[in-house]
Amino acid sequence: MHNSGVIVFGEDVGFGGVFRCTLGLQEKFGRHRVFNTPISEQGIVGFAIGAAAQGLTPVAEIQFADYIHPAFDQFVNEAAKYRYRSGNSFNCGGMTVRAPYGAVGHGGHYHSQSPEAFYTHVPGLRVVVPSGPREAKGLLLASIQHPDPVVFFEAKMMYRTAVEEVPTGDYTIPVGQARLAREGGDVTIVAWGQMVAVAEQAAAVVQEQGGVSCEVIDLRTLLPWDRATVEASVSKTGRLIVVHEAPITSGFGAEIVAAISKRCFLRLESPPVRVCGYDTPFPLIYEPLYVPSTPRVVDAIHEAVKF
């Protein structure tokens, strides 16, 4: 689907961006539609909101999700509330802001963080986190076409590690619907982004070890999130584990656990558990200890089953 109102901008995106995500776009669509910005995150997001309010479809890039914080006010007070506070006169639904997030192996304090939970606290925004290349394309196209503003977090680890066949044509994956990544009957594991792969690996390990069958849900969209899919799964398995890279306290796992505990209270076989980053700054050399790993998820599965 061609939309001449789509514009792409951000720091260094003109020559492909630091992660080469926009490679070749400027040659194909021209400098007036694909251009570099100064290092001004607050300005970039405010600019995108203004362009979207005029009916354009801006796709802005924040080079690392760690740098998104200066723009927090623009997301919270301008973007998220534009439709509501104007009684539907205006909106900035055309806007999509992409930001690479998460661990990358050596990123340290300021190139590794997962700030998604901050944005899940803001009605009016949609928060999307794809779990792989095929998912990323379908969800990104859906986000760009979506009539609400979207914050789109891309797991930067996967820029280099993920290998997958991706359809060449146009396709979209609906925003707001979770994906059943693996079917199972004993434990439900909810994850997003890079952690979906970790959950799947842990599920394979416990299946092989002793036949514990895990259902893995790729949440895909964190706000508003697909409670129904998670509820149906936990109603079946009676056990819930949520895995995310962000620090555990006030992470989005807390919201999922609270909501599902209420909805599935009498069907739970064990207390819902979170396997998350620790409440520390994102560490440099301790990254392998900090990031939820397959063994940590495996342990949590065993704990849940033995409870």
């Binding site: 100064p38 300005g43 203004g50 362009a51 309010a53 354009l56 506070r85 104007s86 006169s89 909106n91």
Partner: protein, 400 residues
């Protein structure tokens, strides 16, 4: 007494008074006898305005053309704005209006002069002091008053309140609640004008308080880098909340603070000076890129309703402004001195506007409240199947 601020204000006041009261400044003539005979309203009048200060740009001319019709329209619009804000003040004190409310009286010449140089295809975004912006963009007193009272017949259906008026058909992108946060949006609005090559500009308004926000400079840089048609309009009313401009800004020469970007300082108490400066700046911006316009103005009321406006400035200062630089009185004397309207005619206009405002107030009071279901509407484009409990547990309000 704030010596520096007051001295500056009075200096400006004295010089402008001298100019506006000098009878030789204004002369009437007509393009031809027929036009004059057909309609005095369109006869041209030349008025001199106080010189502009400029930064990296030549000054606009200081002789401004106007007509009786225009002056009368300025008078009516500014008087309507003034009466509306005074009514808002009264309604606030009577508790018909609650919450946060920022009044514009004193600054009317800025909007009225600006709109005279713009079309409704030019877009405007401003801060929370936006009641009169709505009027300037073609809105009605009723829409504003009903919005202030949270009524469904308000400008934003009662959902936005004082700080959030919008007029989509006339490209008014709103009142924004966070100091300075609308400025990067204005750069985005300007980009869209350039992208579509529609020859229009984005007016991005902010106050002298907001001028010290970091994101302003991000927006300046991007707009200048990409030659966006943006007029950054700094309404310098000399107090960022309760702090005098020079106490909050290392340089209170806001028109120079774009550095590489040109700027013009305009007498924001003179609608004609504003009209002339904005017309000049618009032409510049469409051809070249952004420009800063500092409007030297003054708010009579405090920052908001909780601020009496008298703790950080003297009553003398306020009354001097009213006596010497009032934007409505300036236009009134032009109309009278040039014998375009007499006192009785002006009184008649004032009476009609007072009546209009009074009936808008009554109509707003009688207006309906928004439906409860609006609580959960317009968060996202589609409602998410939410429902809410009513006061008693049996009542559920469904969203459509």
């Amino acid at each position: 007494m704030h010596g520096r601020a007051l001295a500056n204000a009075l200096r400006r006041a004295t010089s402008s008074r001298a100019e506006s009261s000098a009878p030789v400044l204004n002369r009437l003539w007509s393009r031809n006898q027929q036009t004059q005979a057909a309609s005095d309203d369109s006869s041209l009048l030349e008025v001199d305005v106080v010189p502009y200060s400029t930064h990296r740009i030549d000054s606009p001319g200081t002789t401004v053309n106007t007509t009786k019709a225009e002056l009368q329209q300025f008078f009516e619009t500014m008087y309507r704005m003034r009466r509306m804000e005074i009514a808002a003040d009264m309604m606030y004190k009577a508790k018909y209006i609650r919450g946060f409310c920022h009044l514009y009286d004193g600054q009317e010449a800025v909007l009225v002069g600006m709109e005279a140089a713009l079309t409704f295809k030019d877009s405007i975004i401003t801060s929370y002091r936006d009641h009169c912006t709505h009027l300037g963009r073609g809105g009605s007193v009723l829409e504003v008053m009903a919005e202030l009272m949270g009524k469904a017949n308000g400008a934003t259906k009662g959902l936005g309140g004082s700080m959030h008026m919008y007029k989509v058909e006339n490209h008014f992108y709103g009142g924004c609640g966070i100091v300075g946060a609308q400025v990067p949006l204005g750069a985005g609005l300007g980009f869209a004008h350039k992208y579509r090559k529609d020859g229009s500009v984005a007016i991005t308004m902010y106050g002298d308080g907001a001028a010290n926000q970091g994101q302003i400079f991000e927006a300046f840089n991007m707009a200048a880098l990409w030659d966006l048609p943006v007029l950054f309009v700094c309404e310098n009313n000399h107090y960022g909340m309760g702090t005098a401009d020079y106490r909050g800004a290392k340089s209170a020469k806001y028109f120079t603070r774009g550095d590489y970007m040109p700027g013009i300082k305009i007498d924001g108490m003179d609608a004609l000076a504003v009209k002339n400066g904005v017309a000049y700046a618009k032409e510049y911006a469409v051809a070249n890129g952004p420009i800063i316009l500092e409007m030297d103005t003054y708010r009579y009321h405090g920052h908001s309703m909780s601020d009496p406006g008298s703790t950080y400035r003297t009553r003398d200062e306020i009354s001097s402004m009213r006596q010497l630089r009032d934007p409505i009185e300036r236009i009134r004397s032009l109309l009278l001195n040039n014998e375009l309207l007499d006192t009785a005619e002006l009184k008649k206009i004032e009476k009609a506007i007072k009546k209009e405002v009074d009936s808008a107030v009554e109509e707003a009071k009688a207006g309906p409240l928004p439906k409860e279901e609006m609580l959960w509407k317009n968060i996202y484009k589609d409602t998410l199947g939410m429902h809410m409990r009513g006061r008693d547990s049996k009542t559920k309000i469904k969203l459509t």
